[in-house]
């Protein structure tokens, strides 16, 4: 039932039903590093549809984390335009949740306290807070571990807890930076299925960075392929399959081959990196 309503939301005919539309226009990010300027992202355009699951893959160091930090508002120093539902992104906001690769749970707080920490700015009764926390712990399948400290949780459980903490504010957009990158293969597959279920039961737009092309295709409505030097989106692959998905779907395998071919052909981008640098110096 959830699945059906989900499919309806994502048709272009009814885009206004759900908020969580993210727009990036000509985004450029430069770091000053050792007195030198390093262009990490340039000419980055992206439209993320409300309620969509967008996967981002790309070679290591191409600026994926940097991009996510800009969207999260952890770094405000960029050129171009980033807007959520029409308003420009400035600083962090409870509308934009972020899950880091390392779960970043506070070790001195229990699971329950960690999740409740996300609600620190929310004005609500203790009862309402407790209910929200309990619901989200249940959503990620950790009921019964409310009083556990992070050192008592496995890597997979910690990452589930981090997802619960990020979702408890019901953000419009959930950003996930290689959330399963540090987990073993089996746990990863399990959590991918769980994340798909969670996404289908929530209203959030999700943007997930991953270095695992299978994972990107299994979860993503679309997969954005990034290239490096400087970082940009090379192209976007539509994954035209309904959720929940079958990992064995032939389309997924065909698309995987295409994307891997693109990611491994890395000679061209290097020479391009010289162009913006020289252009800037002469101009």
């Amino acid at each position: 039932m959830n699945i059906d309503s989900r499919a309806v939301v994502r048709t272009p005919e009814q885009p206004a039903l759900r908020s969580g539309a993210l727009q990036l226009k000509e985004v450029r990010k430069r770091f000053l590093f050792d007195q030198r300027e390093l262009t990490v992202l340039t000419g980055l355009n992206l439209d993320v549809h409300p309620g969509e699951f967008l996967s981002i893959v790309g070679p290591s160091g191409c600026g994926k984390s940097t991009l996510l930090r800009l969207i999260a508002g952890l770094d405000d120093d960029y050129e171009g335009h980033i807007a959520l539902d029409g308003s420009r992104v400035a600083g962090t906001s409870l509308e934009r949740g972020l899950v880091f690769q390392d779960h970043r749970l506070f070790p001195w707080m229990t699971l329950e306290q960690n999740v409740a920490f996300a609600l620190i700015r929310r004005d609500m009764s203790a009862a309402a807070r407790d209910r929200l926390v309990r619901e989200h712990i249940a959503l990620v399948g950790l009921s019964g571990f409310e009083q556990a400290y992070p050192h008592q949780l496995s890597g997979g459980m910690s990452q589930r807890a981090a997802i619960a903490r990020a979702l408890v504010n019901e953000p419009k957009v959930l950003l996930l930076d290689e959330p399963f990158g540090a987990l073993d293969a089996l746990t990863r597959v399990h959590l991918q299925t769980e994340l798909q279920r969670i996404w289908m039961s929530q209203g959030s737009t999700m943007i997930m960075i991953t270095h695992d092309v299978d994972e990107a295709l299994y979860l993503g409505d679309r997969v954005a392929v990034m290239q490096a030097h400087p970082g940009r989106i090379a192209h976007i692959v539509d994954v035209d399959l309904p959720h929940p998905r079958d990992r064995a779907a032939p389309l997924l395998h065909r698309l995987k081959d295409d994307i891997l071919a693109e990611l491994t052909a890395t000679d061209a981008p290097r020479s391009e990196a010289v162009v913006p640098l020289t252009r800037r110096r002469s101009g």
Binding site: T92, R104, M109, N169
Partner: protein, 263 residues
């Protein structure tokens, strides 16, 4: 299975008391063999008898009370000041630059080297002793607080920013818990240092306290009294440290206990 575990626990406990027992035995053998004159190497029995007398007369309790009171004051002042100093130096680069050379230099001077100067300044009253103890307690806490606050990972602050944590909550719920482990290990060192310095200072100048009791014993050639002081110093120091470790374990319940680290 459970019998084996009990045996193991008993074994571990017996190992713990093995070295004190060995020392006691050697002491007994040496004194019984009269290797040294009995007035110099008093026998354990004589020390026990002196302990009984000093306890019955209330003398030991009075000296110990005086010492512990000084310890409490000196340690609290020194460690508290160290905490504030460490915080200020970690949070304000200007403060750190201003005081770092002085801090580093003073840190290298043994506490006892200040005694002549402090006697001239404060006489040999309580103030002098408390200043000496505070000086000893100041540095370990200051250093560990400085390192602890500076070492809080940027990652925690990012999580706090994501959830728009207000400053008071940031301090109470993130900064302080993240710093407490480092601070506590510094405070533990401060407590040990304070106790050592206290006894040493009382040996040199005091009109009461456990060190003074030992010094009087020495002057009157009552080495049984001196030995009572030595044993009491060791036991009290040990008990203070153990007590602190228990407190530490209680405050840091959330940390994974390394295997076999039970207090």
């Amino acid at each position: 299975m459970s019998a084996a575990r009990i045996d193991e626990a008993t074994l571990r406990r017996s190992v713990m008391v093995a070295s004190p027992l060995a020392v006691l035995l050697a002491w007994q053998v040496l004194s019984a063999a009269r290797v040294f004159p009995p007035e110099v190497l008093v026998s354990p029995q004589a020390v026990l008898a002196a302990f009984g007398q000093l306890t019955a007369s209330g003398e030991l309790a009075r000296h110990l009370g005086e010492s512990l009171q000084r310890l409490l004051w000196g340690f609290s002042i020194g460690s508290g000041a160290g905490l504030l100093f460490g915080l200020a130096a970690a949070l304000s680069p200007t403060f750190a630059r201003l005081f770092d050379p002085l801090f580093q230099a003073l840190r290298q001077v043994p506490v006892l080297a200040f005694i002549p100067l402090l006697i001239l300044l404060f006489g040999i009253d309580e103030v002098f002793k408390i200043v000496i103890i505070a000086k000893a307690a100041f540095f370990p806490t200051a250093l560990s607080t400085l390192d602890g606050v500076r070492g809080v990972p940027k990652a925690w602050f990012e999580v706090a920013r994501i959830y728009r944590t207000p400053l008071p909550s940031l301090v109470w719920r993130v900064l302080i818990p993240a710093t407490v482990p480092a601070v506590l290990s510094g405070v533990r060192l401060s407590l040990t240092r304070a106790w050592l310095v206290l006894v040493a200072a009382e040996l040199i100048v005091a009109d009461s306290g456990i060190g003074q009791m030992m010094e009087m014993g020495r002057q009157m050639f009552r080495l049984d009294v001196v030995m009572v002081g030595v044993v009491v110093c060791g036991v009290i120091g040990f008990a203070l440290d153990r007590g602190f470790v228990l407190l530490q374990a209680r405050l840091l319940r959330w940390r994974a206990q390394p295997a076999g680290a039970a207090a």
